[in-house]
Subunit: 702 residues, 2 copies
């Protein structure tokens, strides 16, 4: 039982600010409560009235004779605080803050909202809103909103951060016959937010699917944790707006530049098993599909049509959406061949041709739905004189009832001629579309959910015990003591090494002799680079020397590099020269990390080298809850994976060490949240068993 | 005046196979002709009837007293040939072949169709179909089809290869109030095809936009030539199915593997100025947008809404579709600030907030539409109590009438509550949608067309006079004499050289001494590769030696290579060893060519090297009519362009020579259509002024 269960099924409700004047919000809410058929006690509160809409009116909550479980606040903003306190004193458990004029109006409003929250906390009351449309439950039933209509009874729990979207979805749903279990307007989310309601809907036996429109999340970690849990048992579909407005962050690292804020949301949704709708249309289409259809077992779709052209268009759409055109069993094909006219197409898409009657649809659907190689079916109908769309609808309903475990969607290609049939289908809870693409996209949504469900649980990656936290702390402390945020190459390498990330050995040399000694220690050949957090393009100023194979060359290079730097950048502080063992070339990859405001550290993996930004062959994962399976997926999403597998006869690379290195980077940035950006690029991957070597590690602290 | 004009406006029409029995096709066509209000002479032909539907019936065309301009053939297939001959004798100009049973049924039918075509040619008759629904013209008016309804009068010429799609589009259009000038069912396209009707519609003053559904084109060259011409004056929108079925060709070259058949169609559409609809939805949405809205001058879209959330969703969609969110002038912003409530958003998207009335919509639309920084407007409405959708529709109509030169689309977010307003808008020829994305996509279609119109005409690239055709002919002849289709490296290089394509100098050596002499001539260092059309992976069998810097090394290598080949592939014919001058490294690009069955040679350009298939950073253009501007676009579409421009401080590469080389390859493959595949990869591009060098040229002949 959800701790919020009583919010949707209170024994008694007070409407504070109830009004006798039609058109006022306080009137609409009371009227909606009455019209919904709410069976508990209803107490309108208004000091100026004795009775409203047939209910005894009380001057204040305090004066209500019995207990009050929930109170709806529809008073002006200035009265909200004292009224809330009164509710607390009365022992009210839940407040629905309809009233606007809080955080959304600026600083002063935010302050008022904070005070309201404190009152709620003091008395242990939970708060919806403020600045919301209210909440409704069709099973209780209860309508504590001022919406124009009450939703139809159904199985979708709908949670929305936009009141406008509540109104639109409601109006649309009445038209399409789509029902809801709950309707929740989040408002300002001062207390209860999307995560609370998703969790509640998960426990609600009347809700079988959860739809959510959000503009942001209140708490990234909790949102992910809740959704990861809930999505295992119920589909969670999210429409999030603001995909583009933020744009790419202004950041100095590759990872930061490629990771936008929407990317973090997208990654968070994916990692927590949420199905994201990328448009309002898709959201609407998913609503019908998820509330009516079973989840398919696979992605093999059969088409049954009475016309060829639209059948081909549907086939195109199936492939474009990553689904598979079903290949029927021999029995199915034989049965179709024997019973359909010779001009018919007996392979997928099954074309019953223009003179098909209801019997032909029934026969073909029966055969196709019975085939184990078919996971879902799209039935198409083009208006013809010999067969009415109503007959097709009838055939589909019969066969859906016979095979309830396989999703069936219908495409009626036409306008007025097919309206009635569409109504019949929706009445029978079969989603109906007027062009093939949305039907296919809806099935693709079900398949995406099915794939997510199939994923086995997999251990979280962060469990290396051989890491040296003290060493990292020591380096960071010294960098901070130096008033820097960017680590020098040797410092960053030391940090990486402390976490078992394979790096090419590196030393910081401050003199000619020091450099030569370091090179002797490391072994030749070596590479030398000027060490300065202020110099970005080291090659351009003559600050880099490659392939040095003797003590003499190293000494000369030290002098040259120092002279070049002093000539080009005379006033730039320089810490010395980094001497690094020159590594044999390997497959160049990048592992990076940037911080997202909402979801914390996010890893990037992909093709490395100088063309990272050009090619953008990268995949992202949030570190929060990162699993072994996600690391595998992350690597496999990139083209770099093809290189690692051994491209065109090349030997396979050490993917095991690549995975481990990603996991070690994850642990490092999780342990030290002060790391704001990290780039390891290039990171050479060698043949299987030979490991990796990071050539350049960049770390920036907050 | 189009040569087909009289097809859509004949003085007299014979319906051959007219029937008195309702439900028969020959009855439906006559009834449709009558119902359409056709004003010419109508002659039903049926030897068994004296009168049908009030018209005198004739036993045959020959016996009609007056002239007959057009005949509709609705007789069984076996009667079609003699009847067609009779029509020819009578002097009929146009035949509409409704009858099925021709090419679509197999070989015998195809033969019958060929005979029918020959009869038409003999008598100078033009033929629509056979196996079609017929044709209709709403302006004539005339309905020579057996469709269930007559289209509304309008400005869209609709041409369809699928009869089913005709029926669906017609039914949908009646529902949405969309009108057509002509409705053409192409059928088997034995004579007249899509190109003929596109050309006719271009000349038709009643058609302002041309919509076409095709599954293939009858003649690629003519289709491109016609559409390139027509699309300059009227939008041509095409929906083509079968995008996926063909799949990638089985081909040995990079270019062949990356170029699928749909890629050729896509490229042909783009190069001939056709706007492609990628789904049936998009096709429908474009139909409303192109028949109602003016073409915008730019891509800057303003949003006027009464709710924030949907406004953000619309903004996301604008950016996702490559359009620009408009930035208003200071005057507009000031006017909005002064006249809208303080909570309103005065920047794009303009949020009039929930209590907006009609006056606020009128004011904001007036200001926004007057702003020179706005090219198109999306008006959004979320149902609220204070403002009806009909009032919003009214405000939009008023302002559209005041600013008829800017496209305005409306999004009414809701279901039943907004139906009436949607009808009002469509009646007023303002497209109306129920979610933001299709509205934005429709405007994006108008903008895409506008951009295509803006493209200046640019000269065709194939005009090099310094090419040596005889040399190429000579090489090809010798390859053919050798019974080969794959050219050796030195042969392919000679061909390239003959067309001024820069190649690294190469010689074929057949002995140790020969190799050493070649290397002396070319200058050191050199590269050596086994020369055999049968060995693909030359490195794997030890058939390649790099960086050879002396006569001795070359001689040794010759022996080694030959020994390796004999050891690993003892029975493979070997032509010798290629000695090639080793070139300094440059930016690696690829230029390739594959042949498309329908559209001829198609070029590919992109990032070269061993990762061509992995990265797939390539652009395609058909050689047919290839212009200088298209070569520029082709290069700019790829990421390789960023490298050529000088990536991250690198010097710019010799783009002029890159362009010229593409043009020279185009001319080569155009002059020699027997080249079925060509790959130049890698092709090194050097710094500006330094040109290029092709390292490997592969040519396959038919």
């Amino acid at each position: 039982m959800s701790e919020l269960a009583s919010l949707f099924n209170p024994q008694s409700v007070a409407i504070i600010g109830a009004s006798a004047t039609p058109g006022k919000i306080g009137n609409a809410i009371l009227q909606n409560m009455i019209d919904s058929g709410y069976k508990g006690e209803l107490y309108p509160i208004n000091p100026k009235e004795e009775e409203i809409l047939g209910y005894t009116c009380y001057p204040s909550v305090a004066e209500i004779p019995g207990e009050v479980e929930m109170a709806v606040l529809a008073v002006p903003a200035r009265f909200v605080l004292p009224v809330a306190k009164e509710c607390g004193e009365k022992g009210v458990k839940h407040l629905i803050g309809i009233t606007a004029g809080f955080r959304e109006t600026g600083k002063e409003g935010a302050q008022k909202e904070q005070e309201l929250l404190e009152v709620c906390n003091e008395y242990g009351m939970r708060l919806v809103g403020p600045n919301c449309l209210g909440i409704a439950d069709t099973h209780t039933p209860m309508d504590a909103t001022f919406m124009a209509d009450f939703p139809l009874k159904g199985r979708i729990a709908f949670i929305s951060q936009s009141g406008a979207l509540c109104a639109s979805i409601l109006d649309w749903s009445l038209d399409r016959g789509i029902g809801f279990s709950k309707f929740i307007s989040l408002g300002n989310k001062a207390d209860l937010n999307e995560a609370d309601f998703i969790l509640d809907a998960a426990a609600d036996p009347n809700s079988s699917v959860i739809f959510c429109y959000i503009e942001d999340v209140a708490d990234g970690d909790r949102f992910m944790q809740v959704c990861s849990e809930v999505s295992r048992s119920k589909p969670v579909v999210v429409l999030k707006s603001g995909t583009s407005s933020a744009g790419a962050q202004a950041a100095s690292s590759h990872t930061g530049a490629l990771a936008g804020s929407d990317r973090a949301y997208d990654t968070a949704f994916r990692q927590s098993g949420i199905l994201r709708a990328y448009s309002m249309e898709e959201f609407f289409n998913y609503a019908a599909a998820f509330s009516y259809l079973p989840i398919p077992k696979g992605d093999r779709v059969a088409i049954v049509t009475n016309s060829g052209g639209p059948g081909i268009i549907c086939t195109d759409s199936i492939e474009a959406n990553g689904l598979t055109v079903a290949r029927f069993s021999r029995e199915t094909t034989e049965a179709l061949r024997e019973n359909l006219p010779p001009e018919a197409n007996i392979y997928d898409p099954v074309d019953l041709i223009g003179d098909a009657d209801k019997g032909r649809y029934l026969f073909a659907l029966d055969r196709v739905l019975a085939d184990d190689n078919v996971d879902a079916v799209v039935v198409m109908y083009t208006p013809v004189a010999v067969l009415s769309p109503e007959e097709v609808a009838d055939a589909v309903i019969t066969m859906r009832d016979k095979y309830p475990e396989k999703p069936v969607a219908v495409v009626l290609l036409g306008g007025a001629a097919v309206h009635d049939a569409a109504d019949i289908l929706e009445e029978a809870e079969i989603p109906c579309y007027f062009t093939p693409e949305p039907a296919v996209r809806s099935i693709a949504g079900l398949v995406r959910y099915s794939n997510m469900m199939d994923k086995a649980e997999s251990p979280v990656v962060m469990d290396f015990s051989d890491v040296d936290r003290d060493k990292v702390r020591e380096v960071f402390d010294s960098v901070k003591a130096d008033n820097r945020v960017v680590l020098l190459g040797n410092e960053a390498s030391a940090v990486a090494e402390a976490y078992g990330i394979p790096v090419a050995p590196i030393r910081l040399a401050t003199s000619r002799e020091d450099a030569a000694n370091s090179a002797d220690e490391l072994g030749y050949p070596v590479v030398m680079k000027v060490a300065s957090p202020y110099i970005v393009h080291k090659t351009d100023i003559g600050g880099v020397r490659l392939n040095l194979s003797s003590r003499e060359e190293v000494e000369e290079s030290f002098v040259e590099i120092m002279e070049n730097v002093h000539r080009y950048l005379p006033d730039t502080p320089v810490n010395g020269v980094e001497v690094q063992k020159m590594m044999p070339p390997g497959t160049e990859i990048i592992i990076g990390m940037s911080q997202d405001v909402q979801f914390g550290p996010m890893l990037m993996f992909g093709l490395g080298g100088i063309y990272v930004n050009l090619l953008q062959d990268v995949a992202f994962r949030l570190v929060n809850g990162l699993t072994v399976a996600e690391v595998d997926n992350m690597i496999q999403e990139t083209k770099a994976f093809n290189l690692l597998k051994g491209y065109r006869g090349d030997r396979p690379k050490d993917i095991k060490v690549v995975k481990e290195t990603i996991a070690r980077v994850a642990q490092l940035v999780w342990d030290f949240r002060e790391i704001t950006e990290m780039d390891i690029n290039p990171l050479f991957a060698y043949d299987e068993g030979k490991g990796m070597a990071a050539l350049d590690v960049k770390i920036t602290l907050s």
